[in-house]
Symmetry: C2
Subunit: 306 residues, 2 copies
């Protein structure tokens, strides 16, 4: 595996790929502290003959003042080992100064109807502005044919899809299904910051979400409001501070209300604070025929959760 620690090293490593156009470039941007969710994305991204690039960069501009930028888990040696084991071609591990030179000043802002709700409402508008600006810079540096994002950050996936369709139409955005722990908790780098007691309590999050899915909710619950009420009750006893619990369309992210069967793409979204750690998760209400989690990621999900 090649390790590029600067944009210049990245360009040098990509030059032969570009000049010969022998293979596609698949790209998996990460903030490091890799877990099985990332690894499943890498596996899904790897096509025979493809040049697979992952970036490891904790992007300061998507954290608001007072958020956990400093506390965000970092373990570069372990990350590079995992990437190497996963068969990656190139790891891009830039410094903040290299990603944001002193004269860096461009902002790439996605559709406000996607960025201003859910985590955008809670974390402030700079959160997704930071996400789309760094993703745009990474896309411009790596110029991949495909880029892969996890479905745990569903809103981020839709925001990136929209931005990329507008500005990088040649890059195919792919997603990998959320990988969950034995008790259903979505894998997240931030889970490492939970106390043992908090980790136990955290299982209330997936339980409430999974209970809202088509096969699980009681037949008398027929509206979005019913489902939200049931999920909210489940949390009232769990000593978890809810940030939001909402049902929205999975593509437009617009609110869903009334009869749930009339919203076949509805998803339940949750953000909660536990031990001062912010956790997010989401599930589709209905198993959608047009939602096919991508290849290996889906296999990994099935393997690790059932």
């Amino acid at each position: 595996m090649i390790i590029a620690r600067s944009t210049a090293e990245l360009q040098a490593a990509l030059r032969p790929v570009r000049e010969e156009a022998l293979s596609g470039v698949a790209f998996v941007p990460t903030m490091g502290s890799l877990h099985e969710g990332h690894i499943s994305l890498l596996r899904a991204a790897q096509q025979p003959g493809d040049f697979t690039v992952a970036s490891v960069f904790v992007n300061p501009t998507q954290f608001s003042p007072g958020e956990d930028f400093e506390l965000y888990p970092r373990d570069e040696d372990r990350d590079l080992e995992l990437l190497d084991q996963a068969g990656l071609t190139l790891a891009f591990v830039p410094s903040v100064a290299d990603m944001y030179p002193v004269d860096f000043a461009t902002r790439v802002l996605a559709d406000p109807s996607l960025t201003s709700c859910l985590c955008g409402a809670s974390r402030g508008p700079q959160h997704f502005d930071g996400v789309t600006s760094v993703v745009a810079r990474l896309f411009g540096l790596v110029t991949p044919n495909s880029a892969w994002f996890g479905e745990k950050d569903w809103q981020q996936l839709q925001v990136v899809r929209s931005m990329s369709a507008d500005i990088f139409p040649g890059i195919e955005i792919r997603s990998g299904a959320t990988v969950r722990d034995q008790d259903g908790l979505a894998l997240s780098s931030r889970n490492a910051r939970l106390t043992p007691a908090g980790r136990l309590r955290a299982s209330a999050i997936p339980k409430a979400l999974l209970n809202s899915q088509q096969d699980n909710f009681s037949p008398t619950r027929t509206t979005a409001e019913d489902l939200l009420e049931e999920a909210t009750q489940a949390f009232s006893s769990a000593e978890i501070e809810l940030d939001y619990l909402q049902i929205r369309d999975g593509q437009s992210l617009q609110p869903v209300s009334g009869s749930i069967t009339e919203a076949p793409n509805a998803r339940m979204f949750i953000a909660a604070n536990l031990d001062g750690v912010r956790l997010i998760d989401n599930v589709p209400i209905f198993s959608s025929p047009n939602h096919q989690p991508d290849r290996a990621a889906a296999a990994t999900l099935a393997g690790s959760t059932r």
Copy 2:
């Protein structure tokens, strides 16, 4: 010459170039109504073996309400003929609906220190936001190796340079020197909208600018303020409504004041209204050793102005 009238046709035409990586792609974005300034850019952009693409698209989002979007000169048949004669490989002539599908919502905003002065102050912040957003979309669609811009729109050139360095570092931004008419007036598609009398009066613009250049200003004029005063006086008798007349650094676009010899990269910038037509121009105060107008464009300038 291939004519692509949609983004889909553009992608189809570029596919073989990308798959074989046999040649570079040089790109010249235009708003059509082509004149010798554009043609000189095209000539400069054409390297042996290169695939040269020009776009013809009058971008509505960079016009403010009340500006001349509707009146902007358009002559597609003539443009396509000129592009074909210039030996172009591909002309991209998209519709507004194709460039801006209904769900298009991303904005690419360049450094405010570059976009808020000069034309950004006069035309409003949406002007350069519209320019950088459409250029970013065009860059993402065409994915060129180089992109060419005229130096008449010097501020636009610096704004695009900055945005591209941040988001499209693989694209080399090149420029072509301003091409001028016999009396020095910078060629512009908007010149066609001047009355014959206005066209005569317009020559006061290049005269005042050229008079501010190193070899021409009187030895007693030593400060930026002196040069501006002299140029302003030249205009007071010309029945031209000045929008701005300023001296700024050619790269940072920050104001220059005091001793002019301490600002080797200073340029004089002007915008003026004549017959309801907005004209802009600029010149360097000093012939800068590190400013080399690009190849054929420079030759064309020399040929047409001296």
